[in-house]
């Protein structure tokens, strides 16, 4: 009987010791996380200078209608009469007719500004984020059309399904108070295109703080 009581107390002692160790361990983890944690949350965003407009954004998002939409940096736009983001590869005519348009949903509006300039605006309710116009504009134009995660739609999944499918590694986590990486006119920036170490510096300058 004495032996069994001794046994029980030893077991209790071990259990209490383990319990204390676990609690201390959790405290340690908490301390580490607090020392490293960010008050700020992070959100997903596309680096427009790395994006290749492959079209995965339209299909891989967990939302039925992707959270990624095309955004137009008007300051970069050349206001071309013949826009390769707007017209298909071989348009029948240089008019706004549906048969001439590249966009599968007709989300780009083309309005006359003054000769020979035309303004192009994106109707976000129609845009599906396929990036066809982005590809056209990047290949032949100024690259003023680009894809961005729209944060009024994005669910901010812990692992973004599009990020997992992104072929160029354009998806990254950015601080929630600066959630967009917008294209801007900045000639200095252009000479460093494609070099990874400078890219981060570029964004500390190039990000629109909105």
């Amino acid at each position: 009987m004495a032996e069994s009581r001794d046994n029980v107390s030893r077991r209790h002692f071990l259990r209490d010791g383990l319990w204390g160790t676990c609690l201390a361990g959790l405290g340690g983890i908490a301390g580490f996380l607090l020392s490293k944690s960010h008050r700020q949350n992070t959100v997903w965003q596309i680096d427009p200078y790395v994006c290749v407009a492959c079209g995965n954004c339209a299909t891989y998002c967990v939302l039925e209608e992707s959270a990624v939409k095309c955004v137009h940096a008007y300051a970069v736009c050349g206001y071309c009469r013949i826009c390769f983001g707007f017209f298909g590869p071989e348009p029948f005519d240089i008019t706004e007719g549906a048969e001439n348009q590249l966009c599968p949903t007709g989300a780009i509006k083309r309005t006359f500004v003054e000769d020979p300039y035309y303004e192009y605006t994106i109707d976000e309710s129609l845009c599906i984020g396929c990036g066809k116009c982005v590809k056209g504009c990047n290949t032949f134009g100024n690259g003023s059309l680009f894809l961005q995660v729209r944060h009024d739609r994005c669910l901010n999944c812990n692992e973004c399904s599009i990020a997992a499918a992104c072929p160029s590694g354009a998806y990254k986590r950015v601080p929630a108070d600066r959630p967009y990486l917008l294209k801007r006119v900045d000639p200095v920036r252009n000479n460093t295109a494609g070099r990874a170490p400078l890219r981060s510096r570029r964004f500390s300058n190039g990000v629109d703080h909105t």
């Binding site: 959790l26 492959c54 994005c154 669910l155 252009n190 990874a196």
Partner: protein, 434 residues
Amino acid sequence: MIRFGHIIVGVAVLLSLCAVVPAVERFPPPEFESGYERPSPTTPHPRQDIYEYIDVVVLLTALCLSSYLVLRNRSRRAIFILMVFSLLYFGFWRKGCVCPIGAIQNVVLSVFDRDYAVPIVVAAFFLLPLVFTLFFGRIFCAAVCPLGAIQDLVLLRPVSVPNWLESGLRLFAYVYLGATVLFAATGSAFLICRYDPFVSFFHLSGNLNIVILGACFLVVGVFIGRPYCRFVCPYGVILRQLSRVSKWRVTIAPDECVQCRLCEDSCPFGAIREPTADWPASEYNKSKKRLAFVIFLLPVLIFIGGWIGSGLRTVTSRMHATVRLAERVYLEENGKVEGTTDASSAFRATGKEVKELYAEASNIRAEFGLGGWFFGGFVGLVIGLKLVGLSVWRQRTDYEADRASCLACGRCFEYCPKEQVRLKKAKEAIGESQ
């Protein structure tokens, strides 16, 4: 001749400039005379942070409430209501993200990636259920986890799983935890999020394969209680270990067990342990030998596991996008495949050296080699400890809920006649006062 050479050099320089200077120079943005003003792109704001703090408060409240309901109130109905609330709030309303299960990966990544900082909300989601488990057992699983809740709802025809099968399948959860840590540490993928079977139900849309996976879990879950929680959930693995030493625990009987055996078959998760007799003298020596053998086997198992895990680095490292890309580019460079993929053409567009990519990929593969030793060693250790556990004789005098396996759902309470007495007394007392 000199002049001609100069021209050639000049043209070459100009051409190379054209190649480097990107599109912005193609059509200079015009200056308008008609007074047209350029609009600026809209930038809708992300969800307010305040909602995330509300999530933490709701989580904390739900954990407190769940502890009270399981350990003091002992009402299955109340636990069930809280569970449905958690499913609706954390699951369907907050779309199951961020959850404590997935937060494992953020925490691991923050340990291994210097630049990655865990948002404080995610840290709270990871730690709160662990701390509560250390005090009250797995009350998070009982009524707070939306993944557990959705499976608990479909559990209509529970069948019991034989013990050997249960233990065997449970090993998968440990392997999954190890793999999750390996892939999160190397920054390859968040495995838990990628293969979360129920998140597409919460989103009401998603990848077809994952929807099918989730549907399979739910169909199996009609008969086998909470298959994800028991055999897959990596967070459950951590909670199991912590609840082994928890301060308070679920008890089937409110006070003393009368060994009536009524609760024996009440647990759909196979977590009720029967009383066992004393260690039979004939078995004693045999078991002692077996235990010694298994303990000696332990380092061997760890080594074999680590060796296999490290040997698999070629396969496991393919989870990392850079390694996949390097392998593809290698095949293309050597003319072994025709054409390019999106990733390889995106890589070529950056103008980066192929050798640089190969070096990066082989570095990552080496990381996987080292990580594989830990991963495989962990799996070996788990298998070894399981064998040790099987060779140890546990003495029990009462029917008990297994500390590790009990999900604190509260189903067994009403089976206990002592509990009936307790409830009736409570009701009588209320009746008297009225």
